[in-house]
């Protein structure tokens, strides 16, 4: 029976099929919210109220011609999208969504899975850099280098912000962290700084305005994706959506007390909490202008990192006091 | 400044070099000077007469001569300086020393009317395409453009 459950776990629920369908839904929510914020309609024609628009885009891109520049490093150019997509999908499996119980240690919920999911989520940034470097175009090269500079800016504050709830809960296993905060809901308020830093750095990881410097269309055309087209570009688009879902799921698991209950209530909690995070991300995108790369780096080292450190100090101090 | 004040200043500084100084419309003046002392006139206009702004330079083919009209402006008065040069050897001194902003206008006049400005820093074509044949200047009277008739079946 466990084999069937693991199989279902891998392919259906938090696995491939769910992530694909739910990420297109989340992209639809994001685009609709962004449109509503700007007093316009957003996609309307494909499906009721444009619900199938992301899937329509994906299918269109899959059918488009797939051009590989003559000067590009072919093998790397083709391998990068697949590598990035798989790393984000495996990160999706680690979310403590359905099959978790305190005692049951399994391949997808073990001591230290928070480090693995954070690492897997940052793999796509390296993939973007390699994509930019492999497609021998000026704009892609600049885009690729910018991805790396951006990475150094937001990676450290992100890790610090993620670890502070773990330190509070005294365990490295997301399932246990979520269980701890379900037991003591008030402790969630202690991590409010870390929650802010995590949401801002997630926005930077997803390269959305105000941090979409690497592929700012008015400066470097398409950034690392300039030379990509057809199926590979579709994979990069899908990758960005799934990364948003997994990132939002991680923040929901760590900062909003996870997804209690078995299959059905856990599923409903997961949808609810990730949509709250997506609402905040869409609001951030609607309200800010794009920062310059040097402003981003100074912002993250002057504000995000100290805030995360302060949060860590508070947590350690309070942990001693509460225990 | 009014027309009389500027007229007095110019007469002091240009002593006899003025061929024609006329006031056709309110707040408009036309000054005609020989092309040799163009730079000196520009300096007088900028420093003495207060024409700090050079709007543009018009290149014109008057049939027998090529003409460059410098349009200057200040608060309340616009002056047009007329410089003529003959067609077979069209040369004018550049005024970039006095008005650095003239760099693009002189390139455009060179492109379209064919007046060469001596020691102009970079005389690359500004508005005409690169493969435009040398020596053909579209705004001269002898150049005609025959547009093929639009045909609708």
């Amino acid at each position: 029976m466990d084999i069937l459950k693991i199989f279902l776990y891998l392919l259906v629920y938090p696995g491939l099929l769910f992530l694909f369908v739910y990420s297109t839904f989340v992209e639809w929510v994001d685009r609709k919210l962004y449109a509503k914020f700007q007093n316009r309609m957003g996609p309307m024609h494909t499906g009721s109220h444009g619900l199938l628009q992301p899937i329509a885009d994906f299918v269109k891109l899959m059918a488009k011609e797939d051009i590989v520049p003559k000067e590009a490093d072919k093998k790397l150019f083709n391998a990068v999208p697949i590598l990035a997509l798989t790393s984000v999908l495996t990160a999706g499996l680690l979310l403590p969504v359905w099959h978790f119980s305190d005692t049951f240690q399994s391949a997808t919920s073990f001591q230290g899975d928070i480090i693995v999911i954070a690492y897997l989520l940052s793999l796509p940034s390296f993939a973007y850099f390699l994509a930019g470097w492999a497609s021998a175009s000026m704009y892609a090269a600049i885009g690729g280098v910018r991805v790396l500079t951006l990475l150094f800016a937001y990676e450290v504050p992100m890790f610090l912000a993620i670890l502070s709830p773990a330190v509070m809960a005294g365990s490295w296993r997301m399932a246990e962290i979520a269980a701890y905060y379900q037991a003591h809901p008030w402790h969630l308020l202690i991590n409010i700084f870390a929650f802010a830093v995590a949401v801002i750095t997630l926005q930077a990881k997803l390269e959305r305005v105000p941090f979409d410097i690497p592929h700012a269309e008015t400066e470097v055309v398409g950034g690392a994706f300039t030379e990509y087209s057809g199926r590979k570009l579709a994979m990069f688009r899908l990758l960005a959506d799934i990364q948003m879902v997994v990132g939002a799921g991680m923040i929901a698991a760590l900062f909003m007390g996870g997804f209690p209950g078995g299959l059905i209530p856990g599923f409903i909690w997961f949808i609810l909490k990730t949509l709250i995070v997506v609402f905040i991300l869409a609001a951030m995108r609607a309200v800010t202008a794009r920062l310059r790369i040097d402003q981003m780096i100074s912002f993250s080292w002057k504000w995000l990192a100290p805030l995360a450190l302060l949060q860590l100090v508070i947590v350690i101090f309070l942990k001693g006091y509460l225990q | 400044m009014t027309f009389e004040e500027i007229k007095k200043i110019l007469e002091e500084n240009l002593k006899g070099k003025i061929k024609e100084l006329v006031n056709p419309f309110p707040r408009r003046m036309t000054l005609w000077v020989d092309k040799a002392d163009a730079v000196e006139t520009c300096r007088a206009l900028k420093e003495k007469a207060g024409f700090y702004h050079l709007s543009t330079i018009t290149g014109r083919d008057t049939g027998d001569k090529l003409e460059a009209l410098y349009h200057f402006a200040q608060n309340g008065m616009a002056l047009t300086l007329r410089l003529q040069t003959d067609r077979n050897d069209p040369k004018l001194p550049t005024t970039i020393a006095v008005y650095p902003g003239a760099i693009f206008y002189e390139r455009e006049v060179h492109d379209l009317v064919g007046i060469n400005f001596e020691d102009h820093p970079d005389m690359r074509p500004l508005v005409l395409p690169d493969e435009w044949p040398q020596g053909i200047y579209p705004l001269r009277k002898d150049w005609h453009y025959n547009r093929e008739k639009g045909v609708i079946e």
Binding site: E71 | P24, S55, N75
Partner: protein, 395 residues
């Protein structure tokens, strides 16, 4: 210092119209900038010599989409001086009203584009939504959203009845309530201010030396505005307004100057509509223009727009020289770009609100090994045809 040449244009998402820049870039800073114009050169000045004055009126209206009314006003009032006719007061007032309505439409458009250049698309959406108010007014008054065709020799072609005046006043009142909000956002949203404050600096001395014009030079402290210096059309009847200048000299100063100019334009429109003299709107104009030459100037949205018209007694002009404000601002832009960041290129270029149709056929192929082949349009076109013929697509 590993510098390389970054070609921007002639097709580039930051440029709404074709121009070609070549930046010598060292890492993220721009060392030097070079400009190639001419992509939109349609030989309008030669075209004017082959058409009658009436036809030229509509040809010059299409020099540029956003400042179409200004070119028409400048040409119409220049030829009126040559003809020696004077439009009636009501005609002059309506001519001024159209100029100011177009300034509102152009500045709101620019505010949106500036927001878009720095990635603030919500600002773009809101400013362009409110611009629809002035677009509807213009469409109601003149019959078209752009290319209004209102000016003609001797006055204007359409009158405003009572109902139209009331609608224009309501629209202006609505806009007057909205615009301070954008000025406030432009100066207080930190991410936007961070991108436009201290960027593209143009000191006053440089602005004067490089003959910049319009809001670009007024934002550097030069109070040069043709509506005040050389009052034309209705401004001769001393319509009260004051020139907006700012000392900042950077892109933020230009945003503030343009937003304040919007407020001035609303006041001018209201003044015009409230004391619109009655009477005729145009006088009869002869078809042939007596011999003469005239320099006609007006304050376009981007700066001083100047026409030189020379007539030879026939019904076709001998020479028409059009210099739109954008050409005056290009030398200043190149100065502003040097020393800035690559990321600032779009916003600094957008700050002078370039209108390229007012002002080259070259493509630069740079392969990564650094050697550049410079192809002209013909060889590039031929390469494209052969490229697709090899793949079996018959052209």
């Amino acid at each position: 210092m590993s510098t390389f040449i970054l070609p921007v244009g002639p097709q580039h998402p930051a440029l709404k119209e074709p121009t070609s820049f070549r930046f010598l870039v060292d890492g993220e800073t721009v060392v030097d900038a070079d400009l190639r114009l001419g992509y939109n050169h349609r030989g309008i000045e030669k075209g004017c010599e082959e058409r009658t004055y009436i036809q030229d009126l509509y040809l010059l209206e299409r020099v540029c989409g956003i400042c179409s009314n200004v070119h028409m006003t400048v040409f119409a009032q220049g030829v009126e001086k040559l003809m020696g006719i004077e439009p009636p007061k009501r005609g002059l007032f309506i001519r001024c009203l159209m100029g100011e309505l177009e300034r509102v439409h152009s500045h709101l458009l620019w505010l949106g584009v500036a927001g878009h250049e720095v990635g603030f698309d919500t600002f773009f959406m809101y400013t362009w939504r409110d611009r629809e108010i002035v677009e509807d007014i213009l469409e109601m008054v003149s019959g078209n959203r752009v290319n209004y065709g209102m000016q003609t020799f001797g006055g204007v072609r359409r009158d405003l009845d009572e109902m139209q005046i009331r609608k224009v006043l309501d629209g202006i009142a609505a806009l007057k309530a909205r615009t301070p909000y954008y000025l406030n956002i432009g100066a207080s949203e930190p991410t936007l201010v961070a991108r436009i404050a201290g960027v593209g600096k143009l000191p006053k001395a440089k602005a004067l030396e490089l003959n910049a014009a319009g809001p670009t030079t007024r934002a550097s402290g030069v109070d040069f505005d043709v509506r005040k210096d050389d009052p034309y059309a209705g401004f001769g009847e001393h319509i009260p307004f004051n020139i907006v200048t700012d000392e900042g000299g950077d892109v933020l100063a230009r945003v503030v100057v343009r937003a304040k100019e919007l407020m001035e334009s609303y006041n001018i429109c209201e003044y015009i509509l409230k004391n619109l003299p009655s009477g005729e709107i145009r006088v009869k104009a002869p078809r042939k223009v007596p011999e003469g030459e005239v320099v006609s100037r007006a304050e376009a949205q981007r700066g001083e727009c100047i026409h030189y018209i020379r007539s030879n007694g026939t019904d076709k002009p001998d020479r028409v020289k059009v210099r739109a404000p954008t050409l005056a601002n290009w030398p200043a832009t190149l100065y502003m770009l040097r020393g800035g960041y690559v990321a600032d290129i779009p916003i600094v270029m957008a700050a002078i609100d370039p209108c390229l149709s007012c002002t080259d056929r070259m493509a630069i192929i740079t392969d990564p090994k650094g050697n550049q082949k410079v192809w002209n349009w013909e060889t590039l076109r031929q390469y494209g045809i052969d490229f697709y013929r090899k793949r079996g697509i018959k052209l």
